[in-house]
Symmetry: C2
Subunit: 248 residues, 2 copies
């Protein structure tokens, strides 16, 4: 039968409650800026400069300058001239919503459509802007509301609160001789992730830190070999001490 089933289709009329103050449309491009600001802010703990954003998004500084003015007008960022931006509460909600879409898509693609965890980022990056709240909720449900995505990154739940990420520490901050389990490999481009996967670094992998960052290099021992990782890559890997019952 051709699926006439109306199941628990819920909300026929109104889609979902407003989460942001202004419900103006936000373009996919704007969403990319907001995502970037969120990521850089999280990463550096500081206001995000025009040039950092330009770098991250691979556009020129003037382009960023004009866009953050628009974002400021819409109340999504807090802009101080010549001092960079931070997200407002509204802006952060937007970021969390995109993050939720992105991470749910990644989870879905790996778990239900057999994608590899290194292969999933670009697809999610394109789709995240076009997924409705309803669809992401359905995906979450189908996956049993997972707390983390395939890279170990926490997935904001339906009300956009971010699950506690645990007390993992950056690999670069680990000490020589530590035996650690990888918790998260920050979701970057496919190429970087493929490199790490080849190096034996993925969520759940157990590493021994052999040597730490003499010249921005860090060496770890994986089950199969000894690997050197650039420190700026190691910054994006978070680990917890290995407990004995966790290795296998």
């Amino acid at each position: 039968m051709t699926g006439d089933g109306d199941r628990g289709d819920a909300d026929p009329g109104g889609e979902a409650p407003e989460r942001r103050a202004s419900s103006e449309v936000i373009s996919a491009v704007m969403e990319d800026y907001i995502k970037a600001i969120y990521a850089i802010e999280r990463d550096t703990g500081e206001r995000v400069s025009t040039s950092a954003l330009a770098d991250y998004l691979d556009v020129t500084a003037p382009t960023v300058s004009s866009m953050i003015k628009k974002l400021a007008e819409r109340g999504l960022v807090d802009r101080e001239e010549y001092k960079g931006v931070t997200l407002t509460d509204d802006g952060e909600l937007v970021a969390l919503e995109i993050l939720r879409h992105h991470r749910l898509l990644e989870s879905f693609l790996t778990e239900q459509l057999d994608y590899s965890w290194v292969d999933v980022h670009d697809e999610a990056d394109r789709l995240e802007h076009h997924v409705s709240q309803k669809l992401s909720d359905r995906i979450a449900e189908a996956l049993g509301n997972p707390p983390v995505d395939p890279h170990g990154d926490p997935i904001p739940d339906a009300d956009l609160s971010l699950p506690d990420a645990g007390d993992a520490v950056r690999l670069v901050d680990a000490e020589e001789g530590d035996r650690v389990v990888v918790q998260r490999v920050r979701d970057q481009g496919d190429a970087e992730l493929r490199y790490l996967a080849d190096a034996g670094v993925w969520p759940g992998a157990e590493l021994v830190v052999v040597d730490v960052a003499p010249f921005d290099m860090l060496t770890v021992e994986t089950p199969s070999a000894e690997q050197s990782l650039p420190a700026d890559v190691a910054r994006l890997i978070e680990v917890e001490p290995a407990t004995d019952d966790e290795g296998a």
Copy 2:
């Protein structure tokens, strides 16, 4: 790269062969025009006029005029001044690719994410432009390469050939007293589909044609009631004679 913030499409791992002559990027907007031309052409069997397209897409005639000029430059349509357009072979491939994405998405949403068949069109319309060939192939595989979508429309297969649609006839061309089974309800906006679903008309439903189009109206009897349908709606419903072992 810098450009549209979207379209990373390419194929990093050499995912799939080129299907079109020119592999220039086609924007989501262009794709909508091509989809529309395909639909109107199929529907009327004639060259598609500027105004028909403007109507269909809800833009003005000059907008269409300039866009079809671009489509013609890219070799996707065959344009004759003041005489409308038809798709070239290349244009038809684009249309079929979008159609495949759209119909696979609809199938997936209904079968795996519990969407109702009337509810699925808008979501698919947004996503279809951002789904990679790889993803649609994975979806097709996960669904067992279905030949038709939830509305009964045929899904182009991986090499973009359209499965034989059978010998269904438009409901409006049926005769009084015919007992028929709905094969396809053309995929229009959610509102129209909801109306039809409420009227008891969906793929697989069995109808008796009570009265045909005296004043552009047609009356059918569904299991639950007698329903009048405007002829232009009935044109979009395709039926086959009911065989006795098919009703239940």
